[in-house]
Amino acid sequence: MAFYEVLLQQLANGLILGSFYALVALGYSMVYGVIKLLNFAHGDLYMVGAFAGFGTLSLLSGWLGGGWGGIVPSILFSMVAVGVLGVIIDRVAYRPLREAPKLSVLITALAVSMLLENTALAFTGGQYTAFSTALGFAGINLGMVHVTYTQMVLVGTSVVLMVVLELFVSRTMYGKAMRAIAIDQDACRLMGIDVDRTIALTFLIGSALAAAAGVLAGVYYGSINFFMGFLIGLKAFTAAVIGGIGSIPGAMLGGILLGLLEAFGTQIPAVGSEWKNVFVFAFLILFLVFRPTGLLGRPEVERM
């Protein structure tokens, strides 16, 4: 392959990977922005979303087929189901600890993550589940580089979801309420905003986005497993930090950048694919040290 073809191929890979990271990073960033909670369970919601989508597709494929006709309803169902799960998690595990010390809430989030992961482990027996679809490999060729229509639809879907979210947060009353809660919860209560409901809405949207990413990733990679949320949770956090945690355009930018970084990183001699995660985490640490507010974040003082 010529040099520019490698470049183009990695660009395509990076964009796809990056759009998954961005979708998951959005939920991370939204929840963090609103209630300052690192939701460790967020990556696992992506995993649960993939399984919910897979289950729905298995039921529907006999009737609607394994192509987009079956996949789109599966994505929608998975988004609703996992969105509700996110709200339940917030209600049961996080809301009682709203005023508790940060350490307690972080450990609770960790417990929720373990719970989701190990429940999935118990159900699947730790096996990889094949996520088979009938999408095929048709696509367009750019020199030696083959980009399938599926890949284009995946990236397109992510972009549409992100644009809708951005419009929702910047243009609607609910979005305004979210942004207000991020600044001062008590003042919001005085202004008549239902804080708990708005936080629940944040969880609903964030979890639904993670679920969408999970189903899309299942379609893309063709297999899902109980552990798939762990690494992507870490990487989505990295993406959110790169973009500036709490910022929606930041999470998108960070996700895409991280995807590209990882795709091109595997091409550097002596880095190789087994080292790519070391590379990503080293990048996270460097970013936290030299630019902790990220590319688009605002400087912030920690309030204990």
């Binding site: 300052k36 690192l38 595990a93 009682p96 600890l97 508790a100 010390p101 940060k102 350490l103 307690s104 972080l106 450990i107 609770t108 960790l110 417990a111 929720v112 373990m114 719970l115 992961e117 190990n118 429940t119 482990l121 118990a122 730790g126 762990f230 870490l234 956090f237 990295t238 930090v241 087994e274 080292w275 995660n277 070391v278 985490f281 080293a282 996270l284 640490i285 936290l288 040290v289 902790p292 920690e302 204990m304």
Partner: protein
């Protein structure tokens, strides 16, 4: 208070401390004679329990005393174990040489990771330590000096005063001694100047800074001391197992140690010891559930955080 009253209080206090000391002496005597009666299975489980007491007390310095969430603690355990492996197998040196090297290596790793990140928001530390734990595991998995995915096999058992540590009873005493030293060190640290500084920074960082406490240095000290506990534990773990592999040092290992600390009561030394014993003995009692172990742990951790957030045997805030 009258003089008589003071004397009475003093007497009661000294009686209590006498009772406590007597209890400790009795307990120690009982623990020391265990190898005469118990079979190898019990000794194996108890040795592991003492190892986890050491590890949990080390993590307790970070999580309990200083209030920092460390999710990559197994990395320091790995640093110790791999130092012992490399020193004895690759360099052909005595096991005892690996102890000071492991302490230096853990200190360096702690300073490199903690130094820049401890100044940041406290929850950033959690995710950085998580990333660090994974980095260490991936690194030992891919280097040839650490034996790659299959790890290091054939680590020599050390000699002590011409007596080779090769029976499970010998390791029972070694880990009991380590756990005992960890308990004493923890009490000494808790009551020292830096121990008070940790708790001050934990309860109110801004107030602590206003009082002239260098919060970053104090946190770093906690992080590094915790790392050293784990590294020493790792050295002896490698000597006992004679074989180590990267899969011992996963995120789940870090979680397990954290669970011991949080379950028992972070910041409270007897509570942490209890937590360490629970995480080792509980799976032995319920061997049947095997793979469900982490699920049961997750549920118990969640319930503890919701209904008894300070742990089973919580610290009394003064």
């Amino acid at each position: 208070m009258s003089e008589a009253g003071e004397a009475a209080v003093g007497l009661a206090r000294s009686r209590r401390s006498v009772r406590q000391s007597a209890g400790v002496v009795l307990l120690l005597a009982a623990l020391l004679v265990v190898p005469r009666f118990a079979n190898n299975y019990y000794l194996e489980v108890l040795s592991e329990a003492w190892l986890y007491v050491l590890l949990c007390l080390g993590l307790n310095i970070v999580v309990g005393f200083a209030g920092l969430l460390d999710l990559g603690y197994a990395a320091f355990f790995a640093v110790g174990a791999y130092t012992a492996g490399i020193v004895t197998i690759r360099l052909g040196q005595s096991f005892w040489l690996s102890l000071p090297i492991a302490v230096v290596a853990a200190t360096l790793a702690g300073v490199i990771i903690g130094g820049p990140t401890l100044r940041l928001r406290s929850d950033y530390l959690a995710i950085v330590t998580l990333g660090f734990g994974e980095m260490v595991r991936i690194t030992v998995r891919n280097l040839s000096i650490t034996g790659g995915a299959s790890g290091l096999v054939g680590i020599e058992r050390p000699d002590l005063f011409g007596y080779s540590l090769n029976s499970i009873a010998a390791f029972y005493y070694v880990f009991l001694l380590l756990a005992g030293l960890a308990v004493i060190a923890s009490y000494r640290l808790e009551r020292s100047r830096i121990g008070r500084a940790w708790k001050y920074v934990r309860s109110d960082e801004d107030a602590a800074r206003a009082m002239g406490i260098n919060h970053a240095a104090v946190k770093l000290a906690a992080y590094v001391l915790g790392a050293i506990f784990a590294a020493i534990g790792g050295c002896f773990y490698a000597a006992k197992m004679t074989a180590i592999s990267p899969e011992t040092f996963t995120f789940n290992q870090s979680l397990l140690i954290l669970l011991g600390v949080v379950l028992g009561g972070r910041g409270k030394i007897p509570g942490v010891i209890l937590g360490a014993l629970v995480i080792v003995i509980f799976p032995e009692l319920f061997r049947d559930i095997g793979s469900m172990r982490m699920l049961v742990f997750a549920v118990s951790l969640l319930l503890i955080m919701l209904f008894r957030p300070a742990g089973i045997w919580p610290e009394r805030w003064r």
